[in-house]
């Protein structure tokens, strides 16, 4: 199959949607001739013009509000937060307006919008430009939270999000933008709320998200040489969460490791752990559930410190080995 980068896959999804549907537009900072801070929207303005690839002033609340207002009046906007951290400035519109509008109006309004966040560390962008904030949105009923880990998922999930009638927070990872992978050329969607078993194995279930899915796969390759087989599951959608495949997997392996880049305390891993502890998989747990996550700190600038602030391949290898060998 043809290969694209994650950024190209996203761009292709947006292009296909805009070609097909005049109600779709993209709005954000420097997404026009600049092509977006990470080049995701590069060239789209040439095809669709400034009316549909809308460059905005530095006004994050305005961008989010523009999406809400357009969505509730019949458009399907795609907003972009240049760095996921800036979503803090748009939280009111996303959490108090977009998320609640349908409910407050007695189910009589729909807000079909996407807010794309360029998240994650690993680029030296330091503490205010490297956040992994997905768990915040998972805590808001009315929002959906999508977090693709591969080019193929990025395209299919973006198109599915666009045609979901709810506001979707679409969490991308800066380090993934340049990752290549097979992407079908045609229009396809990957339903929201469907976990993906990325790799099958019998010794340990690893639930990973975003860039950590890639790292978990590398860890699994290394461990396979030792005879340790990881089963890797990528939830892909954090809200709604498709827990069943994880439950089934834990019943099979008896052990669960959750890996994400976001800070551990209050992170999404805690939710997965809790749901597993509440599920029928509990009786099959043969070791404590473990989490590997970002350290309890802002992302540091120094390259080496930054590297050590979030789970890397070797951390996953070591933690998996310990779990499988019964160290916990």
């Amino acid at each position: 199959m043809r290969e694209l980068t994650y950024a190209e896959a996203l761009r292709e999804a947006m292009r296909m949607a805009m070609e097909k549907d005049p109600s779709v537009f993209v709005i954000g900072e420097d997404i026009g001739v600049y092509g977006g801070a990470f080049g995701v929207t590069a060239g789209l303005i040439d095809q669709f013009g400034p009316e549909r690839i809308i460059d905005t002033p530095i006004s994050e609340a305005g961008i989010a509000g523009a999406c809400v207002g357009a969505a509730v009046t019949g458009m399907r906007p795609i907003g972009e937060m240049q760095f996921s951290d800036f979503v803090v400035l748009a939280m009111e519109q996303l959490t108090l307006q977009a998320a609640k509008m349908r409910f407050m109006f007695g189910g009589k309004a729909t807000v079909p919008m996407i807010m794309r966040l360029a998240g994650g560390s690993g680029t030296g962008a330091a503490a205010q430009h490297s956040g992994s904030l997905e768990a915040w949105f998972v805590n808001i009923p009315g929002l959906k939270v999508v977090i693709p880990s591969s080019p193929q998922d990025a395209k299919g999930l973006l198109l599915a999000s666009l045609y979901d009638d709810n506001p979707v927070i679409f969490v991308e990872h800066k380090l993934l933008y340049k990752v290549r992978g097979p992407v079908p050329e045609e229009w396809y969607t990957i339903p929201l709320g469907q976990s993906h078993t990325v790799r099958e194995g019998k010794h340990l279930t690893v639930v990973a998200t975003s860039v950590e899915v890639m790292r978990a796969q590398q860890a699994a390759d290394a461990l396979a040489k030792e005879g340790i087989e990881l089963e890797i599951i990528d939830p892909r959608t954090l809200r709604p969460l498709d827990i069943d495949p994880i439950v089934r997997s834990v019943k099979k392996t008896g052990k669960l490791l959750i890996v994400h880049e976001a800070v551990k305390m209050g992170g999404f891993g805690g939710e997965v752990a809790a749901q597993i502890a509440e599920s029928e998989a509990f009786d099959y747990l043969d070791a404590p559930i473990r989490r590997l996550a970002g350290l309890d700190m802002p992302i540091p600038y120094n390259r080496n410190l930054e590297y050590h602030a979030v789970p890397q391949v070797e951390n996953i290898v070591e933690e998996s080995r310990k779990l499988v060998e019964g160290a916990y």
């Binding site: 008896g254 009786d283 099959y284 043969d286 019964g326």
Partner: protein, 450 residues
């Protein structure tokens, strides 16, 4: 005028400290109101007003240690007043405060030793407080079950969940499926945690060889020698068993009982009980209690120059825990029906496994049953727990060919029971009569009605 006395809470308790007065003189109280909080080193209890009225004449102050049954205050009815000599601070009421002393028992009965309610040495109490340990869960190895510094250190080293069975949910599930107490399985996981593989190994082994119940909290792994502190409960059991072996001239008699009769009663009881779990142990306790009632010498204690025939039949039932053997007691077993016994045994053994036994659960056994039937044991000898004079070792129920009345072989369920009895008190004939009664009760339970 009504006297308020320092109540006795425990079997062996002689005194309590007044931690706090909840009332002052002149306060109006209703019957049942809390007057004072008192403690017996481990547990805090409340002294309640025996009737309504006005509190008067507090005889002690906070911090005083008061012998049980002493008057600590009075409740006055309207119109009554307190005699001058009973008023607080009058010469009569000055008391010498006794320091807390361990009870001068030569050696404790096993039920007392395993009680979570022993006293603490001051240094042990301070250490436990500093480490934030639950003192009620520390097993004492000192005199009278007193918790010493070494006990606290051992407890702390074991981790805060000492005494609790550590097993993964998967191990517990498998054990449940295999009808097996997970506490009997040696754990090879961190801190001796039982893992699924341990249960599986145990089940496989059990089908070939016989395992002694796991008593040690940790197991030797990988060929390395590891030390297990010989302190606490383990040490107490050791002292007690040595004393038993060295001082009691025991006789042993054994008998094979045909248990078809009691099994059939068991079936009926289960049908009758509905959801309630009726264990065979309940019927065994019932039958033993009945036989003890008929043979009082087996339900006695040896004093200095007398033998006490005990009025109550309290049957101890040994339960194996990871940290050792514990013997919860079914009080007045002779007066209880099978359903009640079954419920009580279920409760007490659940509490034992959850480490939630109360002092009363462990006190006052007059006879003990030790059952290793679940391990497929054919026959074994049990050592008597002094000051009791008898213990019954019960083995597995097995199918055997036995001749029927016309001499033809029939397959019946049989069970071996071996009695150890203190020969200083019990003669062979008495022991034989007891065993014979026991067999009769098991073979024809209806005998117990006659």
């Amino acid at each position: 005028m009504k006297e308020v006395i320092m109540p006795k809470f425990g079997f062996t308790q002689e005194e309590s400290e007044i931690v706090e007065w909840a009332v002052k003189e002149g306060d109006k109280v209703e019957q049942g109101d809390v007057l004072a909080v008192v403690t017996t080193d481990k547990i805090s209890m409340e002294v309640e007003a025996p009737e309504s009225g006005v509190v008067a004449g507090l005889q002690y102050k906070q911090g005083d240690i008061v012998p049980v049954t002493k008057v600590i205050a009075y409740i006055l009815k309207p119109g009554e007043s307190l005699p001058v000599d009973l008023r607080a601070g009058s010469p009569n009421s000055t008391l010498t405060v006794k320091p807390t002393l361990p009870q001068p028992e030569p050696a404790p009965a096993i039920s007392n030793v395993t009680s979570p309610l022993g006293t603490l040495t001051p240094v042990a109490a301070r250490m436990a407080a500093e480490k934030g340990l639950d003192t009620a869960r520390i097993v004492g190895s000192g005199p009278g079950g007193r918790v010493t510094r070494a006990d606290v250190e051992y407890f702390a080293a074991q981790g805060a969940d000492n005494g609790k069975i550590r097993a993964t949910p998967a191990a517990k599930r498998l054990a449940r499926e295999e009808h097996l107490e997970v506490g009997l399985v040696p754990g090879t996981g961190p801190n001796g945690r039982v893992q699924e593989a341990d249960v599986r190994t145990f089940v496989e082994k059990k089908s070939s060889t016989v395992e002694v119940p796991a008593i040690a909290a940790t197991q030797v792994r990988d060929g390395a020698i590891r030390t297990i502190p010989f302190v606490g409960m383990r040490k107490t059991i050791a002292a007690n068993m040595t004393r038993s072996a060295q001082t009691i001239p025991a006789i042993q008699l054994e008998i094979d009982a045909d248990v078809e009769g009691v099994l059939s009663l068991h079936q009926q009881a289960r049908a009758h009980a509905g959801d309630k779990k009726i264990s065979l142990t309940a019927l065994l306790v019932k039958t033993v209690a009945w036989a003890l009632k008929r043979n009082p010498m087996l339900n006695s204690q040896l004093g200095e120059s007398e033998i006490f025939l005990l009025p109550d039949v309290n049957v101890g039932v040994a339960v194996a825990l990871e940290s050792g053997l514990i013997v919860p007691v079914i009080q007045h077993a002779d007066q209880k029906g099978i359903l009640d016994l079954a419920e009580e045994i279920n409760n007490v053994s659940a509490r034992a496994h959850q480490n939630k036994l109360r002092a009363a659960d462990l006190e006052g056994a007059t006879f003990t049953i030790s059952n290793l039937g679940m391990f497929g044991i054919d026959r074994f000898t049990a050592l008597i727990n002094p000051p009791q004079v008898g213990i019954l070792a019960v083995s597995a129920v097995k199918k055997q060919f036995v001749p029927n009345q016309s001499g033809e072989p029939v397959l019946h369920h049989m069970m071996n029971m071996r009695l150890s009895a203190d020969h200083r008190v019990v003669d062979g004939v008495e022991a034989a009569r007891f065993l014979s009664d026991l067999r009769a009760g098991l073979e024809n339970p209806e005998e117990m009605l006659l």
